[in-house]
């Protein structure tokens, strides 16, 4: 490791999206030949920061020094010209084209294809990333596709390579090869900014780590000198909020039970759910923690009934096996659901709020639909009641859903379901991207619902939120769910470790190889 020479220094980088400050006065410094980890939960601001470094986003404030000179990176092409390359989490490759053709498209100058093929073979061989330039991308597995992206960057001889969660798509063996390549690159003087939340990996290959939380840098360390536990604590934050949840009544009987639930995902980036067991009781709030993309969406879909499971008995709702029942059947039984995505899933953006009341309540609310005909009057009355009760602020009466701010729309969507007095509520990321006031109102409503005798399942990435509302906590990681445990018996460190995959059956096996 050739250390000491400063390569890039970002100072005071800020970026605001609407109401949220994604990057708040962030400083970051990388030396030549250093593998530098950028750690943090989802939504901590890692991606925003690297997109600014790569010129894909314009910073709201702050300065960037490259090899000692003040620079302004206007776009990714300018970044590549400086010597910054980036491998994204989701690749941008043309499936119908060959490896060489895909790489040719990204190069600034046109190189004869024959020459390029030779270059690809040379570079890929040198770094232990063997690639056949004539192979068609559609035929290649994900791991090889990532190689194409990496080789594409390497051909431009970068001084800094940014990698966004590179191992999230790799098998443990493929990841091993990648680590070797990265170490080799670093030895040659190329700096690597490595974004991850897998602590093991970071400890193994990174020289330094910068930790981000809620848009701010909260610490820097040498990961090799830390334990996985101390890193996890830095990542998720140690400060414990005072919880005002009221006393939990004696847990009642189980209202929602998942028994050995397995479900293969649909599509290339879906996560398969593996033998999930869960028992949700009347009067309690159970929270499922986890980093985004570990199967939360898939779990929500099978519980809600948007996606049906193969076996009827793996989901039991209020005493009825519902695995094969529709979402509206489950609503009629007394369940209510709030998905993560507000616009386009929880609400239809172009419809007025009153019609968005009909959206989820047409089957369970007899006043809204009579003999197949809509009662717009009843829908409008519900909309007014919800707006008043849940403090939904709007510019004029009954606006389209997309005209509301995130927090107000979420209050409306949550209120729409609470208004039905459900016996089981399943809610995914209840306050994601919501302002503090609305978040507090929603969290209080969830607790109140549970205290009134309903069962509430909260899926969330926000540990602060989980500690505020939950009675029990479970953690989901790569489609596997840990045993739920009382909140008091779980500290942030343990949760952080489980979130980073240390509780998975599979992960443990893969780790033994080294």
């Amino acid at each position: 490791m050739a250390s000491g020479t400063e390569l890039i220094r970002a100072k005071g980088i800020s970026k605001r999206f609407g109401e949220t400050l994604a990057n708040d006065n962030v400083d970051l410094c990388l030396n030549k030949g250093e593998i530098h980890a950028l750690l943090g939960e989802n939504g901590a601001g890692k991606s925003t920061l690297v997109k600014i470094l790569y010129g894909a986003l314009e910073p709201g404030g702050g300065s960037l020094h490259w090899k000692g000179n003040l620079v302004k990176v206007a776009n990714p092409a300018a970044a590549r010209k400086l010597g910054i390359g980036m491998v994204f989490q989701h690749f941008s490759l043309f499936e119908a084209l060959s490896v060489a053709e895909n790489i040719a498209l990204a190069l600034p100058k046109s190189v004869p294809l024959k020459q390029l093929c030779a270059d690809i073979i040379e570079v890929s061989g040198k770094y232990g990333l063997p690639l056949d330039p004539t192979a068609i991308v559609a035929d290649l597995p994900v791991g090889i596709r990532q190689r194409i992206e990496i080789v594409r960057c390497l051909l431009q001889e970068p001084d800094l390579l940014i990698m966004d969660e590179p191992t999230s798509v790799l098998t443990p063996l493929e990841a091993e090869d990648l680590f070797k390549t990265l170490t080799r690159l670093a030895d040659e003087g190329c700096a690597i900014l490595y974004i991850s939340h897998r602590l093991e990996e970071v400890q193994r290959i990174c020289h330094r780590a910068t930790i981000m939380r809620h848009g701010k840098v909260v610490g820097a360390c040498d990961p090799a000198k830390e334990t996985a536990a101390s890193l996890a604590q830095l990542m998720v934050g140690g400060d414990v909020h005072a919880v005002d949840a009221g006393a939990q009544a004696m847990p009642g009987k189980a209202l929602l039970q998942l028994t050995d639930l397995n479900h293969a995902g649909e599509g290339a980036f879906a996560v398969a759910l593996e033998s999930i067991n869960l028992s949700l009781h009347a009067g309690e709030v159970l929270a499922i923690a986890g980093i985004a993309g570990n199967g939360q969406g898939e779990l929500f879909d099978v519980i809600s009934g948007e996606v049906k499971t193969k076996a009827a008995y793996d989901i039991n709702l209020l005493g009825v096996p519902v695995g094969r029942r529709s979402i509206n059947d489950r609503r009629r039984l007394g369940a209510a659901f709030v998905p993560e995505e507000r616009l386009g899933h929880g609400a239809a953006p172009d419809l007025p709020l009153s019609e968005n009341v009909i959206l989820t309540r047409h089957a369970s609310d007899k006043d809204l639909v009579r003999a197949g005909l809509l009662s717009r009057g009843a829908a409008l009355r519900s909309e007014r009641r919800l707006a008043a009760q849940y403090d939904v602020r709007m510019a004029h009466e009954n606006p389209e859903a997309r005209a509301l701010s995130g927090g107000n729309l979420q209050k409306f969507i949550v209120g729409r379901e609470l208004d039905r007095s459900p016996r089981v509520l399943v809610i995914n990321q209840p306050t994601w991207g919501v302002d503090a006031g609305a978040a507090a109102l929603i969290r209080q409503a969830l607790i109140d619902l549970a205290r009134s005798g309903a069962a509430v399942l909260v899926i969330s990435q926000d540990l602060d939120e989980i500690y505020e509302v939950a009675d029990k906590i479970a953690v989901i990681s790569r489609g596997q769910l840990s045993e739920p445990a009382p909140k008091d018996s779980m500290n942030r460190e343990q949760i952080g470790l489980l979130m980073a995959g240390l509780g998975e059956a599979k992960q443990a096996k893969a780790g033994k190889g080294h």
């Binding site: 948007e306 609503r331 929880g346 239809a348 809509l374 997309r402």
Partner: protein
Amino acid sequence: MRLELEKRAETSKRMSVLSPLIAIALTGISVTLMFIALGVAPLAGLHAFFVEPLTSVWSWEELLVKAGPLVLIAVGLSVCFLSNTWNIGAEGQFTMGAIFGSVIPVLYFDFTSAWALPLMILMGALGGMVWAAIPALLRTKFNTNEILVSLMLVYVAQYLLDFLVRGPWRDPDGFNFPESRLFDAAHVLPKFGDGRLHLGIALAVVAVLLIWFLLAKSLKGFEIKVIGQAPRAGRFAGFSQNRTIWFGFLLSGAFAGIAGLSEVSGAIEQLTPVISPGYGFTAIIVAFLGRLNPIGIVFAGLLLGLSYLGGEAAQVSVGISNKMTNVFQGMLLFYVLACDILILYRLRLVRSAPAKEAS
């Protein structure tokens, strides 16, 4: 200084009404420029195209005869398009409706009871539905592109019609002309007025009222709109996208089939190799110009019906090709789709150029 599109917070109600009118105005300007380019006095040309066909009672009736099938097909298509399903093959479903509906008058011409006409209408609807079921089935089972399948089936249907009137269904007393036998009086739709006005126009009016009721009042109409605008929210509401695709295709197929039957039974009174001046395609323009709203479609159908008459009138009185009709229809669709952007965006004049960024 440059023009910028700025997203509106909400759908503009005013622009929903104005945008088709702006499109018509822009088309009018373009047509005027074309008249000038063709060496025709623009005022005389516009008069011949848009006013002359409306100067006699006979041609008003003829306008309704042309607008009837356009409106009937277009209201069916509007249900499809609202649910984001693209049935481009109404012309083929129209043709199959005409063929199925002609089974009785051509093969069972002795069957002249009062039940014959209602049966023919049902057969027409069935023919359109059968043809529309093919793209619906392939889309829902194999996720094929319904635009291509429905469009290609148009040509299959037209060749089938061509084969029938030249082969097995050719009139035995027809001096070898490629035509079927003339329909019996019992197989011809009732006529009104002194022109060629027939029952088909009444069927179109009924269809408009039905679809207006469906879309404005029923849960089914709500389902169609939600699936079209936000499929994921539709699934969350418990609506099935596949069911909606089937519903849209079968409904629009049935309406196109009835329109086809009405055309051969009401206007032509026999099967000929060509039975439509492209009603099924023009109806797509009618549906969009009417903003997929049944009431708007009535007005749009009348305007596009007028373009058929205007093309013929302009050919006679100012001597330009009646292909002008196609040019007019094409430009209109172009402008309608372009002006739709004003509903969700507003145009803004930006005075200063953005600050140059140094790198």
